[in-house]
Amino acid sequence: MSNTENKQEVEQIVVRFSGDSGDGMQLAGNIFSTISATVGNDICTFPDYPADIRAPQGVLTGVSGFQVHIGADKVLTPGDQCDILIAMNPAALKTQHKYCKPTGAIIIDTDSFTEKDLQKAEFKTDDPIAELGITCEVVPCPITSLCQETLKESGLDNKSIVRCKNMVALGLVCWIYDRDLALAESMLKAKFAKKPEIADANIKALRAGYDMGHNTHTSISHTYRIESKGEKAKGRYMDINGNKATAYGLMAAAERAGMRLFLGSYPITPATDILHELAKHKSMGVITMQAEDEIAGCASAVGAAYAGALACTSTSGPGICLKSEAINLAVITELPLVIINVQRGGPSTGLPTKSEQTDLLQALYGRNGESPIPVIAATSPTNCFDAAYNACKIALEHMTPVILLTDAFIANGSAAWKLPDITQYPAIVPPYVTPEMREGWTPYKRNPENDVRYWAVPGTPGFTHRIGGLEKSATTGAICNDPANHHSMVETRARKVEKIAFDIPELKVEGKEEADLLIVGFGGTYGHLCEAMQQMNNEGKKVALAHFQYINPLPRNTEEVLRKYKKIVVAEQNMGQFAGYLQTKIDDIKLRRYNEVKGQPFTVATLVEEFTKIMEE
């Protein structure tokens, strides 16, 4: 059934599904983004879910949202605001309507707007639209009753029937945006392969939603088509979120290094999905250990590294504090270890499901003593793969713990990812000892070029040795309290990390070469900063972006690049940690700051407004 009337071509659209956390909004959103990507659109998604697993039904704190930005061309963010908002109940309407554009439309499930529902969402009147002052188009649809009517003869109980209402909503959105239902149906069949009756009910509900749009035109004035522009690289793609991409990066690195992958971890939101993902892939030889606590998660990884594995630990929020002691053991013993910190709102338990960049200084400095560690920050969901791969490569080749910073936004957000050919990725070659080195070998003998010590993995004949958390003599490897030796070891460990700069790419500047304003950012804000930069350039303003993925060491041309610009603004989701860090590295550099710590991604509109103000200063 094709939808041919009033079809308007658009470049990009944003849809936000919202409802109770048990309403299946994440699934509806996922299917919608995947079928859009399948036809060649670009996608960027943002699941925005509450910390409560199942808050009481219908209450404001239990609302779960899933936003997807779909574009004919490249999209970099999930979009500031949406064109279509699905609000499955009054609580969703109340908490989510602010995410709808004034020109957009809100589809509500009229069946869930009874007096009781309105009370649960703390409405004072029986007219929620007026009470919220909503001016955009509101489209009332009887989603639940249509679902019940459609499935009344399915043989399922009422609870199971009502659970399919997310598919009615999805079907309706598919009609509005001219999506092919066959793709959604095959996804549902695969998802419920073991429960064909559930698959069947979901498919019927999906079609019912689509037909409702088609038959009634659902009082929406237009339907839309998003054509794909053929600028994407040819090849096969999949939808991937940042946590999965991180897990994939670790597995790819282990394979390329010819090593066993070990993850020691303790469940913590929003990092747990890395543990879940790796736990699935035992057939690839991956070992995951759910430890007794965060400390043991990291400590077991240090033990695994000592014993010759590619060892990783994943965490978030307060978990990184607990790991710092064991990380420092890997610093002084110079063992390879990858620590993944999926940053969330803090301090303390903070905002467990929300996103921030507030752990940067902790990653750089949050340990006792002089404790230099390479820090890498992934810039997007798909970049998590490369960032994780490179973190492993640096850890193994430079014999050091590496902290990989991601954040809740890119960890849960997803985008279309071109399947990589990992044989094209740089090889990973740890500095293992060779039999010729036996004579006079000590554990802190180094390669003079990069100051990396050689690795004698336990089990290797002829290299028995002792390492530990106490300072050691650079020459003999024995415990050593000598002041000059300690000073020299402190300097050596720092220099070893600094020299990694020769192995990482130079900083690139995007946008206008002769810009009046250079935007600087790091990590997961790349999409928003890049889109803001592009928008300003389209408005005729000369703006450029320098976005950092490598934080420690910084790319070797960092100072040279930053010195070129008269006006620089560092935009970050903390109180200015990266700006302060840059100022410790580059003497007297003037940096303006734009800081936001709301637990939510930046909005492009706000960035443009703020950067424009800075330009006009």
Binding site: M289, A296, A304, A307, I467
Partner: protein, 334 residues
């Protein structure tokens, strides 16, 4: 016969205080290792922090002196990642049972194939004399000048509470019995806990006095051996019998008691009840139990992890990264 001698496992010059129980224990460990015959390069000795945790520096094996309390977790990672290594985890009563208590019970519960040594001198030595979690209630130390107001852990009780399958106890200065315990611990597949009672000459001198000498042990200890009757005493005149749910000390030849009435030690019994009773015996009414108190076979975590991997390698169709990619839903841009 082993191709190694005790000398092959020795490294450096120990720097513990003269008279410290660690010296004798170290000698027993070298000897046990030489008799076990595992090549020094296939052994990792992993310790935490404290006097006894300096031990890896005196081993000509791979050695890792780690951080306070975490050695059980670090040893766990090493053994699981590289099961070919023989891993000895060295800890003291403060390191293993206070700051590292959580890791201790979980390593035991998971049944990681580690030889866990708990050197118990009931004091913090390296920080110069504070009470430890095994110090008796009322113990006077620098941090408890008026006596502690807390009860101690009894390591065997923690071990069994964590579902431990091996527990042995020895006195550091009792070389033959210590070597025997260490060998049994190493030969046990799974987490083995060996409590080594040792003296701290500086801060807790005489803590295990009643059994620290050969004469003292003859009077106040019982050596348990699997399959042997529980007989003890200077002239082997006493024995243990069951009384209700408890134990009692009897004199052989008195009140019609013969050797045949004495309990026979069964270290392989799955039920921990009697093992716990034996492990918790204290003077002056009971002898202190030495030797292998419990030694029960069970599947180890490290074996189970690798067995699961092998099983899944058999039944899953993807084994490489490129095959993994194929398990996802993909689309093609042409």
């Amino acid at each position: 016969m082993s191709e190694y001698t005790a000398q092959d496992y020795k490294f450096g010059q120990p720097r513990w205080c003269p008279g410290c129980g660690d010296h004798s224990f170290l000698g027993a460990l070298h000897k046990a290792m030489s008799e076990l015959g595992v090549a020094p390069h296939d052994i990792a000795v992993i310790s935490g922090i404290g006097c006894s945790s300096r031990l890896p520096y005196y081993m000509n094996t791979y050695g890792f002196h780690t951080i306070h309390g975490r050695s059980a977790a670090i040893a766990t990672g090493a053994k699981v990642a590289n099961p070919d290594l023989t891993v000895w985890q060295i800890s003291g009563d403060g390191d293993g049972l206070a700051i590292g208590g959580n890791h201790f019970i979980h390593a035991v519960r998971r049944n990681i194939d580690l030889n866990m040594i708990l050197l118990n001198n009931r004091i913090y030595g390296l920080t110069k004399g504070q009470y430890s979690p095994t110090s008796a209630r009322g113990f006077v130390s620098k941090s408890s000048p008026y006596g502690t107001v807390e009860d101690p852990f009894r390591p065997a009780e923690l071990c069994f509470g964590a579902r431990g399958n091996f527990f042995a106890r020895c006195v550091a200065t009792d070389m033959p019995a210590t070597v025997a315990c260490l060998k049994a611990a190493a030969q046990h597949k799974g987490a083995s806990v060996t409590e080594v009672l040792q003296n701290c000459v500086i801060f807790n001198n005489g803590t295990h006095e009643s059994i620290y000498t050969k004469e003292g042990r003859a009077k106040n200890a019982i050596y348990l051996e699997h399959g042997k009757p529980m007989i003890f005493g200077e002239n082997r005149e006493f024995g243990l019998m069951q009384e209700g749910f408890g134990l009692k000390v009897v004199k052989i030849g008195e009140n019609g008691v013969t050797e045949n009435d004495i309990l026979v030690h069964d270290a392989h019994c799955k039920d921990t009840t009697l093992h716990l009773k034996l492990a918790l015996m204290e003077g002056p009414d009971f002898p202190i139990a030495l030797g292998v108190i419990r030694d029960v076979e069970a599947i180890t975590y490290n074996d189970a992890v690798h067995a699961q991997i092998e099983e899944l390698k058999e039944c899953k169709k993807y084994h490489t990264f490129s095959e993994l990619l194929e398990t996802n839903e993909t689309w093609e841009i042409k």
